[in-house]
Symmetry: C2
Subunit: 387 residues, 2 copies
């Protein structure tokens, strides 16, 4: 075998479901010199990450840190630490990620009650209220805040009240919501939360910011059985991310540099300004889609700003359009997953990718491709609407 | 809270148990533009990683790829996929990492037979032979090839024959050995192997190169029970790293860039040349230690080239020496773990860190610090011996 050449990735506009584009200073931070995972300077930086992550998650939870894996490792972290065999859980399923939580909870030996909505719709608080009548004393209730597979934003604050009244722990998936729209862990009474770095934080994938409330932590530290994962056991991780600094595993040093810089940029912009930017660019895209007579498939009134699931019109080649966007315009958008395959394009406007320039660039390219493929729309008017 | 300043890590000579220093081109690769995890260019690069990883592991195993976590996630990947509740396993324990495997295997519900050696000593093949008499039909036998906590290299090839005869699967930990000394997965008849990126591969921590033989893969794909980890389930991971490219989790893109470049550099240097370099620099360090009347604690004849466990002489302040090395000379060495705490310094010569210049620089600094602290040794002669 001859040795491959150095890899030089093309420059893309990453307008899919993540990863999003990273700010230049985030990419540059990755190249900084390596440090040991117990180096006093690295430890100092870990404290800054924890503190900034708390600010972005709007929580005072001490157990707030990035798990050394991608968002799904964050999901697994929450479930394996909180669940034991025989526990009853209620999980909202309105897309891929609710389904994944059910799979994972079952691997923990839990008895899962699924609360399902059609893909694209939210989990209605009333559905959780009904489920709580059937399973009045669950240990945990979990919902996906922002479903990346459909672009629907479930009103978790309303669900939280019901869960509290039932005395259960409340877990939410904020992989796509965090740093793109309000996520208020303490105000909403959330006990466990996980996210990913590669969405609205605009950091490369590889870490999963998580947070556990004191109540959740108490459950995790007073289990009957050992956590089934060693890598994700919070009882062990607390020794490294806490004050003792006991070696557990070797933290991904460079990825933590990147998260530090990405969190810094979020706070520098300010949460409210960042949310407003995400909202405005979503509205600009939506205005253009209206002109093009294209629809967002997720429930009106609950559409995500950072992920737009655009319905593929009758007769249009979904994969062909995606391929042309990528190869001719350097724009990546996402395909539909599961039952949405071939039915939607997922257009992400996350973090650094959420700019008016990107919206306009996308609308122009998208309109041109659709018209060339036989779907007639007024690209010029759509671009004007987006500006 | 005021926003922290950008983080600028100091430049260190990383001569501990890992992470090691990275080559400049590896660090630069991390800053390259982000790509989607299903981008055709990224997928092409994944194939190159798999192919290069096979070359470095000296295997033809198709299921050879990097797990999206650090070395310990690689350990967990192997054990959760191969073990089911009630399975019998034999694990060699001669340091921290054998102990960690026992903990993990127990979390999988396995019945663990520990084969223990004193820390610093190897697992003797005869010990495995004896254990096989007590537990004649184990599902799996596992040993640590290179114990990072003690610097001992167990002769796994000899163990392998015994394991084969017993019809068990053979698992080895090559976190510290891979790319620093011979690791011959196919020739040695190893069924499952995991490693880390931050040791002799000189890539940042964050990925765990793993490989499963066809035999091991068959065990993992024909289980009675689901794998207890979703994140590490090879039945799901195979869909992404195999030919289907089904979305599982979002791969850590930048970390894969770095691994691609690190593997490239290993193959460019050549395995034999790389091993020789590690050996020579170890011998240079050992010659200097001899002059200084300092001993390596691991078993003579089985001492690792890449990690040297130097015994702390009577009356010398172990932590104080380490701190001075770091703060005055920018040299990181490791402390002893568990029962070795305060008794050894772990001096790593891994990957890009393994240079004669680093050996000399370390010997000079170390000798100066020891002499200032009351341990008399001939630093000048030691440096001469190292050159």
């Amino acid at each position: 075998m001859s040795n491959p050449a150095p890899f030089n990735p093309p420059v893309r506009s990453l307008m899919g479901p993540g990863p999003s584009n990273c700010a230049p200073s985030v990419l540059q931070s990755l190249s900084k010199p390596m440090l040991g995972h117990l180096d006093p300077e690295f430890v100092r930086m870990m404290e800054e990450i924890k503190s900034m992550q708390r600010a972005v998650m709007q929580t005072k939870n001490l157990m707030t840190f990035p798990v050394s894996g991608t968002g799904s490792a964050g999901m697994e972290f929450c479930l394996v630490n909180l669940l034991e065999p025989g526990d009853e859980v209620i999980i909202g399923v309105n897309g891929v990620f609710g389904g994944r939580m059910c799979d994972l909870a079952e691997r923990c030996g839990a008895k899962v009650t699924k609360v399902s909505s059609d893909w694209g719709r939210i989990i209605e608080p009333q559905q959780i209220a009904d489920a709580l009548k059937q399973t009045p004393k669950p240990k945990l209730v979990a919902v996906v805040h922002a479903e990346t597979s459909t672009g629907a934003l479930t009103p978790v604050e309303e669900v939280s009240k019901l869960v509290r009244e039932a005395g259960a722990l409340f877990l939410i998936d904020t992989v796509t919501s965090l740093a793109g729209c309000p996520v208020k862990i303490d105000e909403w009474g959330v006990d466990a939360v996980y996210s990913g770095t590669q969405k609205c934080l605009s950091c490369p994938p590889g870490l999963a910011p998580v947070s556990l409330s004191e109540r959740a932590l108490k459950v995790a530290t007073s289990r009957r059985t050992k956590v089934q994962s060693w890598y994700l056991d919070v009882n062990l991780l607390a020794g490294y991310w806490g004050e003792e600094r006991v070696y557990h595993h070797t933290a991904p040093i460079s990825m933590n540099y990147a998260l530090h810089e990405a969190l810094r940029l979020v706070l520098e912009e300010g949460l409210e300004a960042r949310f407003a930017r995400h909202r405005e660019n979503h509205l600009a895209l939506k205005a253009a889609l209206d002109v093009m007579k294209l629809k967002i498939m997720s429930q009106e009134g609950h559409q995500l700003w950072q992920l737009n699931a655009v319905q593929v019109p009758e007769g249009v080649d979904e994969a062909g359009v995606r391929k042309q966007l990528l190869t001719q315009y350097g724009i990546e958008v996402g395909a539909g997953l599961g039952p949405m395959k071939g039915k939607i394009w997922r257009v992400g406007l996350m973090g650094a990718t959420s700019t008016r320039d990107n919206v306009v660039k996308f609308v122009q390219a998208f309109g041109d491709i659709l018209n060339a493929g036989g779907y007639t729309c007024d690209t010029k008017a759509a671009v004007a609407a987006a500006k």
